[in-house]
């Protein structure tokens, strides 16, 4: 190789074969971080020293003839809601500021076992609640393509880290679009896999029946490699599907001839005209490559936001009750335990988190359960069944990932509902438990990236990646 490898595939192969050293790859990425991180703030913590030690170990393994794994020397950033033993995991919240977990998340262990080098913990909306990373207690992450704009959220830091070449790949979490939307806004690939394919053990829970971990990468092949490395059954997660890792690399060059790609005729409107234009071009490209475009209806999709904003906060209100100042994290002293709870949680949580905890508590409370949470679970069923009917006619569906391109910092902070609308196309997938991914596809207003979302049925990652790879080829033309 004459040029330094930058992709996960390239780095892994080159380091594994001894062609390039892990240390050299790492230093290149650390230099990028030094240069631009002050302007972007993708990280809550850069773990340079630990990364150097790991990279040196990888090189030593290679020199000694031991195989460090398929991700040998690949610099990877981890969203700061993934537990990393001995390394602060804050969820970008004051209530966990400085907290060092005594254990690693399963996905962290798997990446480490594959030879990955962790460069740091990335910024997020506090407890993964948000679509712009403006809800972080430690400052917003800015979009590397235009630092007056947001990187999206909640995994804004992880998306920006890949977009700015701070890491070759990163992990985020997606509950209502928190991987896909920032991927679209930052012009990178982001994947939310089928619920249950990636272990949630060690992912700080936001909404348990919706959360999934997934990769950010610069291209579809890299996403395929990272997803394979982190997926597969985990006995520590009861919701983990008893299957092996998700493998999709073999379908990437198949093309889309004969596939049926669904267009949702009753898709909620209100997207930027450029975004709608890019989507139309995406359909055209797939049609030209031999796919059939079919019209499908998802009449319940428009109720997805409501169902999500009742279910997710309800589960979150329970998942976040453990932050009480007793065993870890922040504590505000008080004369009795009950007072300590109230003072600690008031001081430790930001406004969006408080809002969602209260909304969720209300939705579950006596007298309101049936009207809110109970109904939302039924709407979830309607959406799931709509998708089933659609997937009888189409192999994948296509939508914009985000209705808008990256917006200016501060543009939506005073209007939570407007912020929630960012996830109108991504939320239904989480409700159904299906996989979906965002692929960069051209630009929109002000030259900012547009992402097209490929949706597939449960365990439909192969066909999803197959179509995504074709879109990527089309976008490059």
């Amino acid at each position: 190789m004459t040029t330094a490898p930058v992709s996960v595939a390239g780095i892994g192969a080159a380091v594994r074969s001894g062609e390039v050293s892990a240390v050299e790859v790492l230093e290149r990425h650390l230099a990028a971080i030094d240069a631009r991180e002050p302007d972007i703030h993708a990280f809550n913590l850069v773990t340079a020293d630990a990364a150097r030690a790991t990279a040196a170990r990888v090189d030593a393994d290679v020199a000694a003839g031991r195989d460090p794994g398929p991700l040998a020397g690949v610099p990877i950033a981890l969203k700061d809601n993934l537990c990393t033993r001995g390394v602060p995991t804050t969820c970008s919240s004051r209530i966990l500021e400085g907290w060092r977990p005594p254990y690693d998340a399963t996905v962290v262990r798997r990446l480490a076992a594959a030879g990955a080098v962790f460069v740091g913990k990335t910024n997020l909306d506090e407890f993964a609640m948000g679509s712009s990373t403006e809800n972080s207690a430690f400052g917003v992450t800015l979009n590397p393509l235009d630092t007056s704009r947001v990187a999206g959220g909640s995994s804004g830091g992880s998306a920006a880290a890949v977009a700015a070449s701070f890491a070759a790949a990163s992990l985020g979490s997606d509950t209502g679009g928190s991987i896909r939307q920032p991927a679209a806004l930052c012009g990178v690939v982001g994947v939310k896999p089928t619920y249950g394919t990636v272990s949630r053990y060690g992912l700080v829970a936001f909404a348990s029946s919706l959360d999934q971990i997934g990769p950010f990468t610069n291209d579809v092949r890299d996403a395929s490699i990272v997803l394979e490395a982190i997926s597969g059954h985990d006995p520590l997660d009861s919701t983990s599907i008893p299957r092996g890792p998700v493998t999709t690399t073999e379908v990437l060059d198949r093309g889309v001839a004969g596939l049926r790609v669904g267009r949702i005729v009753d898709l909620p409107g209100g997207s930027d005209p450029e975004v709608e234009q890019r989507l139309a071009e995406a359909f055209d490209a797939l049609r030209a490559a031999g796919a059939t475009i079919v019209d499908v209806e998802l009449p319940s999709m428009k109720f997805g936001l409501t169902a999500y904003y009742l279910i997710a906060p309800a589960e979150a209100s329970s998942n976040l009750a453990r932050y009480d100042g007793v065993r870890y994290g922040m504590r505000v002293d008080a004369p009795d335990t009950n007072a300590m709870y109230g003072a600690t949680r008031a001081a430790g949580f930001g406004d969006e988190v408080k809002r969602r905890i209260m909304l969720g508590t209300y939705a579950l409370s006596a007298g309101y359960f049936d009207a809110y949470y109970g109904k939302a679970l039924k709407v979830r069923r309607l959406i799931h069944d709509d998708f089933d009917r659609a997937y009888a006619q189409a192999d994948v569906l296509l939508t914009p990932t985000s209705p808008i391109v990256a917006f200016p910092v501060g543009a939506k902070v005073d209007d939570p509902l407007s912020m929630y609308l960012c996830d109108v196309f991504t939320i239904p997938t989480n409700l159904a438990g299906h996989p979906a991914m965002s692929v960069p596809f051209g630009t929109g207003a002000d030259g900012l990236p547009v992402g097209v979302q490929v949706l597939a049925p449960t365990l439909g990652e192969p066909v999803m990646f197959q179509v995504a790879a074709e879109l990527e080829r089309a976008a490059a033309r």
């Binding site: 993934l82 537990c83 977990p101 005594p102 009861s238 329970s318 009480d324 409370s365």
Partner: protein
């Protein structure tokens, strides 16, 4: 027991019993389930409610819970787990994983020794909390304490909560229920069920009413630590409620704390808002549906239960099943032994008496071989040794862990006198005690004492008192 009243009032009692299961690990994580160790050594991310932790159900806990349900004649059904949300420092997640509207075991009963059936509404699985100790107050109570210390060793230990229907009508029935339940739990190997150690905890719901009237307001009594306390607490509470009602006041529905030292129940401090538990289905777990094969294998492997043991022993000995001898011997687990003595040729009714009286300290596998005890009993029932002599032989068998009863009797010169020797002794005594004899013949029963005493002295205690009395009676005519 039916028709029990206090001053014309009926008592209605429903018992809730929590049982710690005898598993090796906790309900949802693989930390050890052990009592009495150093604090906070049986901990893991799930036990401590750390961010990112996830529960995984313990199969053995399900097995033991099914044994309990089947032993209580419940139906085992497909079931789910729910979160019960509330704040308390010994609750690491600020919610308890329990079972709500779809519990594992439903609709059974427990039969009291006298035959009355107490309904069992349900028996479900849930996790235990940690333990708090209070420092600085009087007597280790919360009131007036300076701070509290929490140990999470017990947090997550599997519990089965057995909810009895309000069919119990007296303190005595309540005691019988708990005593019988304990025996069942021990017999099926589900728990050691020791109230004093906390592995079985009993709360009583008590109300009163006039016969024929609807149910009165009930109070829940907590902190009952022994069977005896249970009876005392129910009696106290019933009388307290009766006194309230008769003085024109209403019973307030509340939870009350039993104080063993002052023999009263006291109001636990009530809060303004009753806690709303906001039950919802636990999203981190999946449904539990034991298949018919598993249920049947558990049922088939159930040991003989105490009720059946009592029935079997009663049938063999001709003694009432709810009589003290049968109850005590079965409770001690010595019934198999009594029957074995019978099988070895000893009179089984006599064996029951001896085992009840002399075997209080011996375990369910007594040290004296059944055949040896049978040998002694045969000597006794054939008249070769007296009842008094039998006791002596038995105590020697006990201290030696067995032996040849006939040899022991012979060594002590215990062979009973034959009939002609006895007649000769009587002749001699009548000649020596003519006045006593005359009085006895006249109807003065007490006069026989002098004659019998003379005979016992002359025979150095070897004459069988009963046989002598029989001869004297016969001669009197």
């Amino acid at each position: 027991m039916s028709g029990y009243t206090i001053d014309g009032w009926e008592i209605v009692v429903g018992l809730e019993v929590h049982v710690e299961l005898a598993t090796a690990t906790k309900l949802f994580s693989a930390s050890a389930n052990r009592f009495g160790d150093e604090p906070n050594i049986h901990i893991d991310p799930v036990t401590l409610g750390l961010p990112g932790a996830l529960p995984v159900l313990n199969r053995q806990a399900v097995e033991l819970a099914m044994r309990i349900g089947l032993a209580l004649e419940c139906t085992v059904q497909p079931c789910t787990f729910h979160r019960k949300n509330y704040f308390y420092p010994d609750m690491p997640k600020a919610y308890q994983i329990s079972q709500y509207d779809q519990p594992l075991n439903v609709d059974g009963w427990l039969e009291l020794p006298g035959g009355k059936r107490i309904g069992v509404e349900r028996a479900h699985l849930e996790e235990d909390t940690g333990k708090s100790t209070h420092v600085g107050g009087s007597g280790g109570r919360i009131h007036g304490s300076d701070h509290s210390l929490i140990d999470f060793n017990r947090a997550g230990v599997p519990l089965v909560e057995i909810v009895g229907r309000p069919d119990i009508a007296s303190p005595e029935e309540a005691k019988q229920y708990v005593t019988e339940l304990r025996q069942i739990l021990v017999a099926v190997g589900a728990s050691d069920a020791k109230m004093e150690e906390g592995s079985m905890r009993c709360d009583a719901n008590v109300s009163v009413r006039k016969p024929g009237q609807p149910l009165g307001t009930r109070c829940e009594i907590k902190n009952v630590n022994s069977v005896r306390s249970l009876g005392r607490a129910i009696e106290y509470e019933a009388r307290r409620q009766i006194a309230l009602i008769e003085s024109g006041e209403k019973v307030r529905q509340e939870t009350r704390h039993w104080d063993e030292t002052d023999g009263h129940t006291h109001t636990l401090r009530t809060k303004e808002d009753a806690d709303d538990y906001r039950y919802f289905l636990e999203p981190d777990l999946v449904p539990l549906a034991p298949d018919a094969a598993w249920i049947e294998s558990v049922r088939a492997a159930l040991p003989m239960l105490p009720r059946e043991r009592r029935r079997r022993l009663a049938e063999a000995t001709g003694v009432p099943a709810d009589g003290e001898a049968v109850m005590v011997v079965v409770e001690r687990g010595q019934d198999d032994y009594v029957l074995a003595v019978g099988a070895a040729g000893g009179d089984v009714a006599r064996a029951l008496v001896h085992v009840k009286e002399a075997y209080a300290e011996q375990g369910s596998i007594p040290s004296v071989p059944a055949a040896d005890l049978a040998g002694m009993i045969t000597l006794e029932t054939s008249g070769r040794i007296t009842a008094t002599q039998a006791k002596t032989v038995l105590s020697e068998l006990l201290s030696n862990g067995g032996g040849d009863a006939a040899a022991i009797a012979a060594a002590k010169g215990f062979e009973a006198m034959d009939a002609s020797s006895l007649e000769a002794l009587v002749d001699e005594a009548l000649a020596a005690q003519p006045a006593a004899w005359a009085k006895y013949c006249d109807g003065e029963e007490k006069a026989v004492g002098a004659i019998v005493g003379h005979i016992m002295k002359a025979s150095k205690g070897q004459a069988d008192g009963k046989a002598v009395s029989a001869i004297l009676q016969a001669r009197r005519g």
